[in-house]
């Protein structure tokens, strides 16, 4: 019916319907609420907005929120890669069970996660007790926030990497090895470029999910002003005082910082994907040969 429009979509019809639906859906669910938020914060004078957004407790809370989120996403990027690799590449008994475990943090109410973690990591908890003998305290310290966020965001990196690692054929590694690449070279020059974009996506998802996390964090954070208060807690705190405008001011700041960070990461990802596909199109085999040539 719409030959021109149907073309980019290939075999299946309904491109216009699909696009229309997508746009309406995103507008209703994302754009309108966010626009409302920004409009509402517009009721504040610039001076009030600035005073709220840059108060001492607010500034400290951005540091805590973004710092802890970054740390949690970084930890998950590293260990998520290992988990994904093991789950894809090695057969072992109970693999399905372990695989299912990865999704649990998604299913568990975050408050339950927070309370459980706080109990485990408190000084009389199973884990906290052991750490306390080493002089390490997790619960009710900023480190507790990172632990909660690691838990909540665990599935993102694993789940985004799994299909990509599955796509890499074992022959690629074998070819690299037979051409004389060291293990590290095989990993960094052959495997990593392929999984890097997905890896970054996983990191980004984990990071953005962590920024907004509230339920699990407040139970383990300790919530001390300037030290372990996250920005979502300050927003709730303002709502408790019926200071809705102040709350929207903080929300807008979070939104802007998150948006800029996500944009930067997306650009990085686009750049990485581009570079990778170029080297693949051009001389995938030549790369391997060059690699081999580098070694005697």
């Amino acid at each position: 019916m719409f030959p021109a429009a149907a073309k980019p979509n290939g075999v299946l019809p309904g491109f216009r319907l699909g696009l229309g639906y997508t746009l309406t859906y995103l507008t209703l669910l994302v754009l309108i609420p966010l626009a409302g938020l920004i409009l509402m914060s517009g009721q504040l004078s610039w001076a009030d907005f600035w005073a709220t957004a840059t108060g001492d407790r607010a500034l400290a809370s951005y540091r805590v929120t973004f710092g802890a989120s970054f740390a949690a996403a970084a930890v998950n990027a590293l260990f998520g890669l290992i988990v994904a690799w093991v789950l894809v590449r090695y057969p072992f008994p109970g693999k399905r069970f372990v695989d299912a475990l990865v999704d649990l943090p998604f299913a568990l109410p975050t408050a339950v996660a927070g309370i459980t973690l706080a109990t485990l990591y408190a000084e009389n908890g199973w884990i906290g007790e052991q750490l306390a003998t080493l002089g390490i305290r997790i619960a009710f310290k900023p480190a507790g926030i990172v632990v909660a966020l690691i838990f909540v965001t665990l599935p993102f990196v694993v789940r985004t990497l799994q299909p990509v690692i599955e796509d890499i054929e074992a022959e690629v590694e074998e070819a690299a090895a037979s051409l004389g690449a060291s293990r590290w070279q095989t990993f960094s020059r052959v495997l990593l470029p392929g999984i890097f974009p997905a890896w970054l996506t996983g990191f980004t998802l984990a990071f953005s999910r962590a920024i907004g996390e509230f339920g699990s964090v407040i139970f383990i954070a300790g919530n001390m002003p300037l030290i372990s208060e996250i920005t979502p807690l300050l927003i709730i705190s303002k709502l408790e005082q019926y200071d809705v405008l102040g709350a929207t001011a903080l929300a807008v700041v979070m939104l802007v910082i998150s948006f800029v960070m996500l944009l930067v990461i997306n650009l990085l990802q686009w750049w990485a994907a581009n570079r990778h596909s170029k080297s693949r199109d051009g001389d995938g085999a030549a790369g391997a040969v060059a690699l081999a040539g580098a070694r005697p």
Binding site: A221, P225, L226, S237, L239
Partner: protein, 336 residues
């Protein structure tokens, strides 16, 4: 695809249940209330239903909604059709009065400041009171003890604790706002963490065994005993404390629209009846009725209390001075 259709089915079913649930012909009331009033109203509603049926022959259904007090008030302001609100702080009802949903003189429409029962802030200490805690000044000495409280800015429980400590300091010889701020500042420095809510603070103190003293509502002590056993802790009554009032009000707009004014009025009035007051005492809330209070005297040791109105000139003033941005709470933390 299977997942999706399952999800759609679940949504469909719950929407259906929701609408079916709302489509009752008999008179029904919605009581929007704070979190820990759950047990109280679970016991109270059948008492009222029985009373109402005997009196008028009508059946009345009472539905409950519980949540954080200010969240609940906001929900009502946003259109949750509550016939009555039963809150744990005047701030929340004041907010509804400001929005024109509740009469501005709601506190005078029922006896006792429209608060059918009261409570006060007390100390929970470890068995045998190893730190010898007797009064507010024992827990405000720099570094002497670890104090557990919920967040003073975000929770009703924490705000009452904060104002109780402040009021105590004011009432000491030579007490003024400056000495009170210093007192409260020292007291807060003894807090290693702030619980996210009253129950969270209790769990931290009782289960995770952090801290030497938990400051909380007197009524919470009984719940701790039921949950953790009576052997593990002691309740200490300070020389004086704050009177916590739990205001109730009719949501004028809703009862007029639904035609439920009479039954809503009766529902709240009955809180002051002997049965209602007994129910309060059974839930460890101090009844207003002197006779009922006397009957349960063993449960409620006498304690000198001051009200928020007396010492702070009402909740809205207290909130503006202490809990708004830049208020005394922020000052204590930011001016280090």
């Amino acid at each position: 695809m299977k997942k999706l259709s399952g999800l759609l089915l679940a949504v469909g079913v719950s929407v259906g249940v929701f609408f079916a649930g709302g489509a009752h012909a008999q008179q029904n009331l919605l009581n929007v209330s704070y979190d820990v009033a759950r047990d109280f109203y679970k016991d109270y509603n059948p008492l009222f239903q029985k009373y109402w049926q005997e009196k008028t022959g009508e059946k009345v259904e009472v539905r409950q909604s519980h949540g954080g007090s200010s969240k609940q008030a906001r929900a009502v302001a946003d259109g949750l059709e509550a016939d009555v609100v039963t809150m744990n702080q005047a701030t929340d009802v004041d907010f509804l009065a400001e929005k024109g949903l509740v009469a501005t003189d709601y506190a005078k429409r029922f006896p006792d400041n429209a608060s059918p029962y009261t409570s006060t802030m007390v100390f929970i200490v470890r068995k045998g009171n190893p730190k010898g805690i007797k009064d507010w000044n024992d827990i405000a000495k720099p570094g002497a003890v670890q104090v557990i409280i919920p967040h003073p800015k975000n929770t009703g429980n924490g705000r009452y604790s904060y104002l109780a400590a402040w009021g105590y300091a004011l009432k000491q010889p030579g007490g003024n706002d400056k000495t009170a701020q210093e007192f409260v500042s020292n007291w807060l420095k003894n807090a290693p963490l702030f619980g996210s809510g009253g129950r969270d603070a209790t769990t931290t103190f009782m289960q995770r065994r952090i801290g030497d003293v938990l400051v909380t509502f007197e009524s919470e002590a009984e719940l701790i005993a039921r949950e953790f056993g009576r052997g593990g802790f002691e309740v200490i009554y300070p020389s004086q404390s704050i009177l916590a009032e739990f205001p109730v009000a009719i949501v004028e707009k809703v009862v007029d629209k639904k035609g439920t004014r009479k039954v809503a009025q009766a529902y709240l009035e009955y809180l002051w009846s002997k049965e209602g007051q007994e129910n309060a005492a059974n839930n460890y809330l101090r009844p207003r009725d002197p006779e009922v209070l006397k009957k349960h005297a063993a449960q409620f040791p006498p304690i000198k209390t001051f009200t928020v109105d007396e010492v702070f000139g009402g909740w809205s003033k207290a909130a503006a001075t202490h809990f708004k941005d830049g208020g005394t709470f922020d000052q204590i933390y930011v001016q280090k």
